[in-house]
Point group: C3
Chain length 409, copies 3
């Protein structure tokens, strides 16, 4: 295997997009599932989606059905959602509430932590201790649930230390899901990430996003006027946020460096000012829901968090938008986008989906279309890897580097 991987990786040139079969072929997709998706820490969902013991939601990582459930003691468990008897799916709904996990086929019954409690009809000598549901490593950081399918996952602590203080003021624990939308995007998951890792495409493709955000002004095309404007906003924001105890900001124009391939770091977050006049990422920049979490005023800029291989979040003072990728084939990615608001907010009274959703719904769907067009192009026999801009696509190059490192680990 190692030799095969080495020969595949050797075909990739630094600073260039990947060869076509990395985006389209079955062999590399299977490798990605094994090396990236079944080893890394995956964002699964929000703790606020399963507030009570017995609340669960299900996800599918490639063909692996998984249930994430809050246990009797309040801890969150992630379990392979397949019965140890004959492999049937156990929880068949996308979400719900149970007291025990009961297989619908022959009623093998498991505790919420996966322990086998009953399997009536089986031979008496069957050792129940050997037939617990296969457990999946789970970690929570400030209301975000991460899982790892690895037997021995990489340590989660570094991510926790970085992300916890950033996430805390947003109050994910006291949030509720206003709406979630599922997409099946006809593009390899790496194309979706490459798209996410640069804003070189924003000016033309994201008319809504660029009104509110600075980061599409990259080093080489920033006029003195823009640079001064940003400096003023950053200075004002820093002062304010320091007083409010809000964590580290991203002060330069341009996107923050992520991933950090040199140190193989897969998580990052930062708080950044919005353009003057925008207090949130809504269509007109005006607040669309009550303040979330610890915020006491709307001017908190925008909090951005991302973790490889499958999560990013953009939060404003009043709402938070999470995006989760799951691989669903060599040229298909299952994507869910959630809009979260303060848990006590009431639809119709405190917020209106028609005002809450369009900013990120449009921006997301613009990206999915871009990725699907790119997929059709890289499927061509005439496709050859092209050069990344060192000014505008440094993060794409880093992502590719991180990805190839991950394959080789």
């Amino acid at each position: 295997m190692q030799t095969r991987i080495e020969s595949l990786v050797a075909r990739c040139q630094p600073g260039r997009s990947l060869p076509g079969d990395f985006y389209s072929g079955e062999e590399i997709y299977r490798l990605d599932v094994a090396r990236v998706w079944r080893t890394g820490w995956l964002f699964a969902g929000h703790a606020c989606e399963i507030p009570q013991p017995g609340d669960f939601f299900t996800i599918e990582v490639d063909t692996d059905p998984i249930v994430v459930v809050r246990g009797d003691g309040g801890a969150i468990h992630a379990l392979h959602n397949i019965c140890r008897h004959r492999g049937s799916l156990i929880c068949t709904e996308p979400s719900g509430h149970v007291t025990r996990l009961v297989c619908p086929y022959h009623q093998w019954t498991y505790a919420l932590d996966g322990k086998l409690l009953a399997c009536r009809g089986m031979d008496e000598e069957l050792d129940k201790g050997k037939f617990a549901l296969h457990r999946i490593h789970t970690r929570e950081v400030e209301g975000l649930i991460f899982i790892s399918l690895a037997e021995e996952p990489a340590p989660f602590e570094p991510a926790f230390k970085t992300l916890a203080p950033l996430l805390k003021p947003q109050g994910f624990h006291r949030a509720k899901v206003a709406r979630a939308v599922d997409y099946l995007v006809e593009a390899n998951w790496k194309l979706v990430w490459e798209n996410n890792r640069e804003c070189f495409h924003c000016n033309v493709n994201h008319p809504q996003y660029i009104k509110a955000n600075f980061d599409h002004y990259n080093a080489d095309d920033t006029a003195p006027r823009v640079r001064e404007e940003i400096a003023a906003v950053v200075a004002r924001s820093e002062k304010k946020w320091a007083a409010a105890g809000l964590a580290a900001t991203h002060k330069q124009t341009g996107m923050t460096l992520f991933p950090d391939a040199r140190n193989h770091i897969w998580f990052s977050g930062n708080r950044t000012p919005l353009v003057d006049g925008w207090v949130t990422e809504s269509m007109d920049g005006r607040q669309v829901a009550p303040l979330m979490g610890d915020y006491e005023e709307p001017d908190v800029g925008t909090l951005r968090v991302r973790t490889l291989p499958n999560f990013w979040n953009h939060s404003s003072c009043d709402h938070s938008v999470s995006t989760r990728l799951l691989p669903a084939g060599p040229q298909r990615t299952a994507i869910r986008v959630w809009w979260l608001v303060e848990e006590s907010a009431v639809e119709g009274r405190d917020y209106d989906l028609a005002k809450l959703m369009p900013f990120w719904q449009l921006t997301s769907e613009q990206d999915w279309q871009i990725c699907e067009r790119q997929q059709r192009g890289v499927n061509s026999s005439a496709y050859t890897p092209g050069p990344y801009s060192t000014y505008k696509e440094y993060n794409v190059a880093s992502f590719v580097q991180w990805y190839l490192q991950t394959l080789e680990r």
Copy 2:
């Protein structure tokens, strides 16, 4: 090939479900088609569906189109439904009537037994004798049509001897199809059989079925009350049936042993009492159509017949339900369920589909859902073969054993 098969079979553990790729992979599916489906005796349909010479129906075994047609002399022929000229499908409808088999492409014309009669436009030296339709072995037993794609199939006689006396009183020759329903079930054909080979799942999944039938009361959970109840019914039934000349009964609670892997036997049938108060497998146990065949009174219990790899039938005094499986991909099975009644019965006057169908339509569809859930589970990388209950899943273990024997033959 043999070595490859041996190494696959060596991965299977007795008394456990099969490894995941036996249920999902392309390689083993191709092997199943070659070793199971193109060698065994397959139920094709009912003789009463093609009463007149020239009547035909078509079926598809994996990608092999087949036509079953009644010949001029009344014999039933099964033929590969593809022209010997350039391979076009000949009969393009699911059923119908023809006088000759004429290819729609260039009108090569075959007798109903497959003999090439005319091929106008071809070179004169073409030897018609060499271009008959490829014939398929066919056997009929009391109105049930079986075919084998093997060049030299296993002898049919043992099956004939066992099944003929059991089937005879049901009168399949004097039956008619009241309705047939086709399903495309997203599950490997072996999952469908494993589901069929135990009633461990019945109590929870088949509320209709268990009201009428005893066999879900398995040895370990039969209370004395139930055992006495069954004994009484069996005793009463046996006496009655002996007087009426009805063949062998199944007297124990629990499912009859099938398949008999020790002797590699693929066919079986038995007559069993229904629960007191049920004279047929209808929703309320009351008769829903005129008596069939030789029956002179409704109290004939239930006749059950099954043949591997693709048939089972449940018959009551007044109607008969046949189920046929055909493989349609590694994770897909084409299933047809037929409801048959006495041939002179008239819909609306003598029977009502709304009363005739629900019992087995519900029970069947409950099983298809179970199988589809199990397929999703065994597709998981975390799936590991689980143990069968020796009390309740002995037949599933036998099926798996029979299957592995068949692969190795």
Copy 3:
């Protein structure tokens, strides 16, 4: 590779249809794409579809997206429709008008001949000369556009010399598309050609076509009456056409010999009389649109042109019907059929689609159904190659020979 191809080709018998995997398997499909579709001259479309500089249309050969665009100087360019930056599709619509080719992702901007003009945001040392769009060889003959994906395609001149004088009077340069219809036919592209290369199937399958055309009367079934009738029509037509300066006719009954496998010739055309009383291929033989091109009277017979691997055209005095095949999978062919009329003709006034289209729409769709049935048949494990008639299927045998030659080149 060569050895593998030789062993595949060795399995084919002269005068017989191909073994099943030539029509259904992935391996041979990939070989066909490489050896046939990425080497030969492919019909792309009509020059009249892109009359102005900047007009374009797109096509897809297997998974290769291609744009055909008229350049600033009026020349036609075919380019791989994928950006040299990160591979995105550039032109995303089936047809349209542009002044430059601008990638929607990061706005890399190309001239209409593919030259990279601008790539703002990229590193300054990027050598624009190395990042032109990948060009595709293009040739036009009398308004028909051909492309070749080969690096060094076979010479186009012989085709040009043969086809130009035949095509000229039809006036494709002064034509317009009245309507185009797209089909996704579930059949291997070779089955579609084999169907096209004989009229043995016409009598039964094409009731409209045979009323207007002689060529289904093949040598062995031509009665003296028919032979005399044809001779009279040919004699009369030849005289008339010679006076009008119309090019070479096809004088025999039966289809003209094509392809000429002995000389590996992939193009051909001829003018042939229609049946008496038919001046065009319409449902009743009556003129359905104004005269096209150089024609001064309706009695010009029918002009037929075909080029391998993907084009045929049937033209009458008043309209012209082009058919283009593109491979879309082992068992799938994307087919477009165009109806062209004189460019000044106005729908509703000069022609009516309901009269213009049915003759070839019916005939085409009859053929697609034939091909789909044949595909289902050749997918059978029981399919064995059958004999071609030397009287009626000589061109099918030639096609197969040409195809196998092409694989081995």
